[in-house]
């Protein structure tokens, strides 16, 4: 029952947020689109000229683009599989009666609150260092040769670090969803003689499907733009082995000063993210209705 006056107040009150967000998104995005059609290098100022889609042609046919797209997809895909599967297992575990469960839960979700630069440097040095790292020592205990993580399997190393950080996110959300599962339903199924495996597949998993979708979509948005972990450990290397699209755009813009090329890359990243965003927004929009 909103009167005209209250509708007006409502508009006035929500306007500032909408306007600043619009400025924050639309203006720079418009500029990025405009730059992406220019020859524009910060090292040769005043030489800007319209070159049509040439930046896109260069960016998309650059072998670095293909490599970074592959790396991006591998990174996002692997972290999603690890965190969702791990999140379900850990969620089920923490849903059981355990001695000191509250404290245990705190320990499991802690990695999510660690800042990305700390995460990356602690893993790279304290754990994964091929000479003095914890993993090298463990390998030597087992009589195995130490792995030189960031030289031999750099992308895997990044995937492990990022997964460790995002696993608690999945656990937190899936556990919340698990706790809203109707116990009676489970008990009824047990009475009918359903084993734990069929209860999981016919009751628990369908109940979790929406939460899993949310985890997948939100993680994808963030994982498409992993930056700090790469920035402080490998710098995209060796070669292009750990360059994802976000990092490629960064190197083009702030290291090679190629504004035009970086802008084209930025737009490609926006398009990739939007493919995921559409699904997420639809899902959340549906949720808003009920």
């Amino acid at each position: 029952m909103s009167t005209r006056a209250s509708t007006l107040t409502g508009r006035i009150m929500s306007a500032p947020s909408i306007i600043v967000l619009f400025l924050w998104m639309a203006v720079p995005l418009g500029m990025t689109i405009y730059f992406s059609f220019l020859r524009y290098n910060l090292l040769s100022p005043g030489m800007e000229e319209w070159i049509g889609t040439l930046n896109y042609e260069f960016f998309l046919t650059d072998p670095a683009f293909f490599a970074s797209l592959t790396n991006t997809l591998l990174l996002v895909g692997s972290v999603l599989v690890i965190t969702v599967v791990g999140g379900i297992l850990l969620g089920l575990m923490l849903d059981q009666p355990i001695f000191g469960r509250g404290i245990l839960r705190l320990l499991v979700i802690a990695p999510f609150f660690i800042m990305p630069t700390v995460n990356a440097l602690v893993w790279k040095n304290l754990l994964m260092d091929p000479v003095s790292g914890m993993f090298a020592w463990l390998a030597s205990l087992l009589g195995l040769p130490a792995i030189d993580w960031f030289t031999n399997i750099p992308l895997t190393s990044i995937i492990i670090m990022v997964s460790w950080q995002w696993l608690p996110f999945a656990v937190l959300i899936l556990l919340t969803a698990l706790q809203s599962l109707d116990r009676d339903q489970k008990e009824a199924a047990q009475m009918d003689g359903a084993g734990p495996v069929s209860i999981f597949f016919y009751i628990t998993l369908p109940h979790l499907s929406r939460a899993i979708t949310v985890v997948v979509l939100i993680e994808t948005i963030f994982l498409l733009t992993v930056f700090a972990e790469i920035f402080v450990t490998t710098g995209g290397g060796p070669g292009l082995a750990t360059t994802n699209i976000a990092f490629l755009v960064y190197t083009q813009a702030l290291l090679q000063y190629d504004v035009g090329g970086a802008s084209a890359g930025g737009i490609v990243a926006v398009i990739l993210a939007n493919i995921v965003a559409i699904f997420l927004i639809r899902l959340i929009g549906k949720n808003l209705d009920n």
Partner: protein
């Protein structure tokens, strides 16, 4: 999975769960432990778990050599500043959307959400150039604005879901008694909304504190927060693990505590109300 509650089952499952939990927590534990070692002990093989000379000198040295508190102060200013600015905008906006909804409210909310989906690299170049031209590079003001705008959609959404749960009958009653709009907000709505506002603030502080794309790209020294300070350890000189660990422990400790306190409310904010 469905362990029948025999004492043995309970104990063995607990032991198993604690082993898994401790393994996940191990990197953090190891970081904290290493921060109390000497640099030589930090790299010694086999690593020592308890039997080393516990020392606080790394903490002192981190402050002495690199003025740690300047960076910590920047982190506090950026996190708190962006949260407070965001709160002013988000509370009014979410209040209007929850209590005076129009036909367009839903679309406005979803549109706000869509701005959060934009990858930062998509606007890195223009923001960088604008900041350079306006003299905002490496300033706290500039970064507060960026962090505020980045998290505004999340704040509006989270507050919206909380405000939605406040019974509107009470507002009607207050209006009947002649409460004006500002009074209605201050005396009726805010007290009921405080828990929601508090969790929204905490989530925003966490996100702003850990933000590591804009803080790395838009700062060099003056406005650089802890994310950038820790990143400077990526090109080290000599032995640095113990100092890195000490600096890292200090950098993550406050957020870890805040995060632990607000873990349940985080789910709502991080999933835009889709999972409660």
């Amino acid at each position: 999975m469905e362990n029948k509650q025999t004492p043995l089952g309970y104990i063995s499952f607990s032991v198993f769960a604690w082993i898994v939990g401790l393994l996940i927590f191990f990197p953090i534990f190891w970081m904290v432990l290493t921060s109390f070692k000497s640099e030589l002990e930090a790299v010694s093989i086999p690593p020592s778990f308890i039997s080393f000379d516990w020392t606080l000198e790394n903490y002192a040295e981190v402050q002495e050599r690199s003025n740690y508190f300047k960076f910590a102060m920047n982190s506090v200013i950026l996190a708190v500043g962006s949260t407070l600015v965001g709160l002013v905008f988000a509370v009014t906006c979410a209040w209007a959307m929850a209590f005076n909804p129009t036909k367009r409210t839903k679309n406005a909310l979803l549109w706000m959400l869509s701005t959060k989906m934009m990858p930062p690299v998509g606007v890195l170049v223009p923001i960088y150039l604008l900041f350079r031209d306006w003299g905002l590079l490496d300033t706290r003001f500039g970064l507060i604005m960026v962090l505020f705008l980045m998290n505004l959609p999340i704040m509006v959404w989270m507050l919206y879901t909380y405000f939605k749960e406040i019974p509107t009958d009470i507002l009607e009653a207050a209006r009947m008694d002649g409460a004006t709009l500002p009074k209605e907000i201050i005396f009726v709505l805010l007290p009921m909304a405080v828990p929601g506002i508090a969790s929204t603030m905490l989530l925003n502080v966490i996100l702003a504190w850990n933000e590591a794309f804009w803080t790395l790209n838009l700062t060099t020294s003056d406005a650089a927060p802890l994310t950038a300070f820790i990143a400077s350890y990526s090109s080290p000189e000599g032995l640095f693990w113990a100092k890195l660990s000490a600096a890292s422990t200090l950098a993550v400790a406050p957020i870890l505590v805040i995060g632990w306190f607000s873990q349940k409310q985080l789910v709502r904010g991080l999933t835009f109300g889709a999972v409660k």
